[in-house]
């Protein structure tokens, strides 16, 4: 059977959603393992090539910033938080959908979570890796980053536990570790399946080592099942806490535009919103790239799009409350900032944010849009741009217009800022391209179980 799958034609006739052939056990394993053992498609080489090129640029940018200093970015007093922080928030946000899908939807017993959970969690890990690099370089002394750890030192100094930046560090580290183990234990049975499917001894050994001797006996499954639910129950509040704390980085300060109690939930909504956009883009590309129309059905994309609409509406609600709060508090600087955002020099980015985030997603109310992969990709791209602009509007734009007119400033965007904006996609996508070729992109065991159940209904 395995040899057959290797010769799967590159372009299978597209299967329509409705005509379901009788389900054959093992066909799911066949199909998903074909992304690993099948031939490397041309688009993979192109995508991998472009992203590794970007990755090189990213490495060069970070090196330059480490060697020359953060002055290469356009940051200066008063705009001390620039592209590094904007990207940090953007990338952590991208990561949030993965854990949200795998943990929260598991607790809600949503069967369609299996379609997205594996690669969405991989996205979480890679997005966190990308995000983690920004504060590292933003502090200007990457080699001194360990100062943030509570370790006994000759200076007798300890971290400042009242600082949200320290909370952030702890929260993101915890989040990374928990996501990794959640992802890995769910991978064990699938790695075992790859071990059993592999033909070359070296490949067999590779997956054999990674699968840790998983045999799929009843005790293993019972343990995995239980642990998944425990971890889901643990990870759901964790994922909410991480971006809340990122929100607190701002909300705890007194700068106009930052000092809002809405920030923690608003940030969580925005994070899951942008993460879902990335998940939908990736799912759609995977679907057509590997002919996975049956494994990633339009119905599931539809569900993800609905979730994106909901979180998008939470974000829009955040905008409204933010503006209302600025007016209602009667604080002149807050209100002046709101007016400046909408009508000042940064008005295009503000209105861009409103349009890309708030207006475009209204198309998702229509089922026909939610079931159209091309439109979904376009809307998701719009969401990604909009959410990036939102972080831009929050970080440098707020800082450009604080209490003293003497410190009003326009952010001076340098070429390094632009490179810092574009090149991180290289790291993220290179990792994703490698991931889809060496690990099963969908959880095989869960997909099989759901398929068996559905075939009996």
């Amino acid at each position: 059977m395995a040899t057959q799958s290797r010769r799967l034609p590159a372009a299978e006739p597209p299967e329509s959603e409705e005509q379901h052939e009788p389900f054959v056990l093992g066909s799911v394993t066949e199909k998903i393992s074909s992304t690993i053992f099948g031939r490397t498609p041309l688009w993979w080489w192109i995508g991998f090539g472009v992203s590794s090129l970007l990755l090189l640029i990213f490495a060069y940018t970070l090196l330059a910033i480490a060697v020359e200093g953060t002055g290469l970015w356009g940051i200066n007093v008063p705009i001390v938080w620039g592209m590094g922080i904007v990207n940090l928030i953007f990338w952590i946000g991208i990561g949030h959908a993965g854990t949200f899908i795998s943990a929260f939807l598991l607790l809600m017993r949503q069967h369609w979570r299996g379609t997205f959970s594996r690669f969405a969690e991989a996205m979480t890990l890679f997005a966190l890796t990308t995000a983690g690099l920004f504060p590292l370089f933003h502090v200007g002394r990457p080699e001194m980053i360990y100062y943030i750890l509570p370790y006994p030192n000759t200076m007798g100094l300890n971290p400042q536990w009242r600082s949200p930046l320290v909370w952030d560090f702890i929260a993101i580290t915890t989040y990374g570790i928990v996501s990794l183990i959640f992802w890995y234990i769910d991978l064990l049975p699938d790695l075992a399946a790859m071990r059993d499917k592999a033909r070359k001894p070296s490949t067999k050994r590779f997956y054999g080592l990674l699968s840790m001797g998983w045999r799929g006996d009843a005790g293993h499954w019972e343990g995995l099942h239980k642990t998944s639910y425990i971890l889901a129950a643990i990870a759901t509040p964790l994922v909410i806490s991480v971006h809340s704390i990122v929100g607190l980085d701002f909300a705890i300060s007194i700068a106009p535009g930052w000092h809002h109690t809405i920030f923690p939930p608003f940030f969580v909504g925005g994070a899951i919103f942008s993460g879902l956009a990335m998940v939908i883009i990736f799912a759609t590309l995977l679907r057509s790239g590997f002919n996975m129309q049956r494994l990633i059905p339009l119905k599931h994309l539809d569900n993800a799009a609905k979730l994106m609409l909901v979180t998008g509406l939470i974000v829009v609600y955040g905008y409204i409350i933010e503006t209302f709060g600025a007016w209602y508090t009667g604080e002149p600087h807050e209100w002046a900032l709101v007016v400046n955002r909408a009508l000042g020099p940064y008005a295009p980015t503000f209105w861009g944010m409103i349009i890309f985030n708030g207006v475009v997603i209204q198309a998702l109310w229509f089922k026909r849009v939610r079931r159209n992969p091309t439109l979904l990709i376009l809307i998701s791209l719009s969401v990604l741009i909009g959410m990036w602009l939102e972080r831009w509007v929050i970080v440098p734009v707020s800082l450009s217009y604080t209490y003293l007119p003497g410190t009003w400033e326009i952010f001076n965007v340098t070429i390094w800022d632009i490179l810092t904006l574009i090149s991180p996609f290289g790291l993220f996508f290179t990792a994703m391209f490698v991931f889809i070729r060496i690990l099963p992109v969908l959880p095989i065991h869960e997909t099989q179980a759901v398929a068996v159940e559905e075939s009996r209904e």
């Binding site: 799929g216 343990g223 425990i230 099989q448």
Partner: protein
């Protein structure tokens, strides 16, 4: 393994095509008095552990709760100790023990410890990692991760008799019954 000696045995394996068939077989094996049995499946089969007569235990939840509590205590203690005992710094008259600000790291530490406990318990209770296991000698066992379901009766079982057990397993209508050397 020398060929002139009788091959030691792990058990007898019956191969099934369907999880419902397997569940039925497991129940029948239990009814026939076999205790030392195990099942190998490509996905989580609801009710399999119960059918095998294994008791459900809540030790996982209990240990994870302990991990949660230990993490919370350690997390809070770390902050309390550094800020109140080890190096108290008066910042604008704020209390040394600023417990509301400490709660966030307390929470994160609790989550981290609970998650690590959950995974440690999973690995310890399922005996992983384990590079070698006799079941890997069973014919067709590589299908157990994708499309086949196996029921194994161990030689250690009180009622294990090679001929009778084989006949019993045959009667369950499996795809095949085979000896698992081990």
């Amino acid at each position: 393994m020398k060929t002139d000696q009788p091959v030691s045995m792990f058990g007898l394996a019956a191969e099934f095509e369907d999880d419902r068939q397997l569940l039925k077989a497991v129940r029948q094996a239990r009814a026939a008095g076999y205790e030392d049995i195990n099942a190998y499946t490509p996905y989580y089969v609801e009710g399999l552990t119960e059918a095998m007569g294994k008791k459900q235990s809540n030790i996982n939840y209990f240990l994870v709760l302990i991990g949660l509590a230990v993490g919370a205590l350690l997390g809070f203690w770390l902050q309390y100790w550094t800020d109140v005992i080890n190096y108290p710094i008066n910042v604008g008259g704020r209390p040394f023990n600023s417990w509301p600000a400490f709660l966030i790291i307390t929470f994160e530490a609790a989550i981290l410890f609970a998650a690590l406990t959950a995974v440690a318990v999973l690995f310890l209770r399922s005996g992983l990692p384990l590079p070698y296991h006799p079941i890997f000698n069973a014919p067709n066992i590589e299908l157990a991760s994708s499309e086949r379901f196996f029921l194994v009766v161990r030689v250690q079982d009180r009622n294990f008799q090679l001929r009778q057990t084989r006949e019993f397993l045959q009667s369950l209508d499996p795809v095949s019954v085979s000896e698992v050397p081990g």
